[in-house]
């Protein structure tokens, strides 16, 4: 299975452009270890067994939640952030799923907060990691293969 960074970048740019009207571009950046972050993840099971995650700095998460709900960043609640990151992960994950072998099923999103890198799949292998700058805030899309036999 081959996932191209360009395909993933196109998906992310479409989601950000049409749902948030927030600028985003691929960027060659490193995870800033220990930074407060929010990560959303969706699982894909079936012909492929993957976890797709979207991890963004806490300030970036607040910025996109404010854009999603049309609020000032100071008025954004933790629920607004969880809802926004969950739905963005769902959209990006659903579109990436269409590039993976079918048939497969997409799980509901799970959102966690912590310090970056917030999410690592134990025993999984990374199929793709692409960095972005979302209105200047670091964000990463990761696709993990969870299948031990492939």
């Amino acid at each position: 299975m081959h996932l191209s960074s360009d395909d993933v970048a196109q998906i992310v740019e479409e989601v950000w452009g049409s749902m948030l009207a927030v600028d985003i571009a691929p960027a060659d950046i490193e995870v800033d270890k220990g930074d407060p972050s929010v990560a959303g993840s969706v699982g894909v099971t079936g012909a492929t067994d993957c976890l797709i995650s979207l991890e963004i700095s806490e300030s970036g998460a607040r910025n996109v939640a404010a854009a999603m709900f049309g609020l000032d960043e100071a008025d954004v609640s933790d629920d607004d952030i969880a809802d926004t990151i969950g739905e963005l992960t769902n959209m990006v994950g659903g579109n990436i799923k269409s590039l993976l072998p079918e048939p497969s099923t997409l799980s509901l999103p799970v959102v966690a907060s912590g310090r970056g890198p917030t999410l690592r799949v134990v025993g999984g292998t990374s199929l793709l990691q692409q960095g972005f700058l979302s209105a200047g805030h670091p964000m990463f899309v990761n696709v993990w293969n969870r299948a031990s036999t492939s």
Binding site: V15, M68, F69, G86, E87, G94, N95, S98, E102
Partner: protein
């Protein structure tokens, strides 16, 4: 025009409603639901002109929602607004009589293209 909007994301319900208004249906009365089960109860209660539903939701998914409606003989106009639009899902939706499947991310033009043939 009464529209039931079913999506477990409050953000997405808000964007669907906003896009519906941008597509020219700004006078629509909106009834929001968090999943298919709540949507099913609301459709029976308010007899909407249209249902716009996500696919992937807790408690009752979108396809379970339309299947339950059709099993009860309810043929309310129904469209999916969902984050994935595989051929298999489109076929499943059409088999239950769904009018369209709009894949996220979407634009007001996509809503307009889907709804104009039905509501003008």
């Amino acid at each position: 025009m009464k529209v039931v909007v079913a999506d477990d994301s409050r953000a997405m319900r808000m964007i669907v409603v906003r896009t519906l208004r941008q597509a020219g249906y700004d006078g629509a009365e909106i009834i929001e639901c968090e999943d298919g089960a709540e949507g099913l109860a609301k459709v029976k209660e308010v007899s909407p002109d249209l249902v716009l539903s996500d696919w992937n939701m807790p408690n009752m998914s979108g396809i379970e929602f339309i299947t339950a409606l059709r099993a009860e003989g309810n043929d309310v106009k129904f469209g999916f607004v969902t984050s994935e639009g595989s051929d298999a899902m489109r076929e499943q939706a059409a088999a239950q009589g769904a009018l369209f499947l709009i894949a996220k991310p979407f634009t007001a033009d996509m809503f307009s293209d889907a709804l104009k043939p039905v509501f003008g």
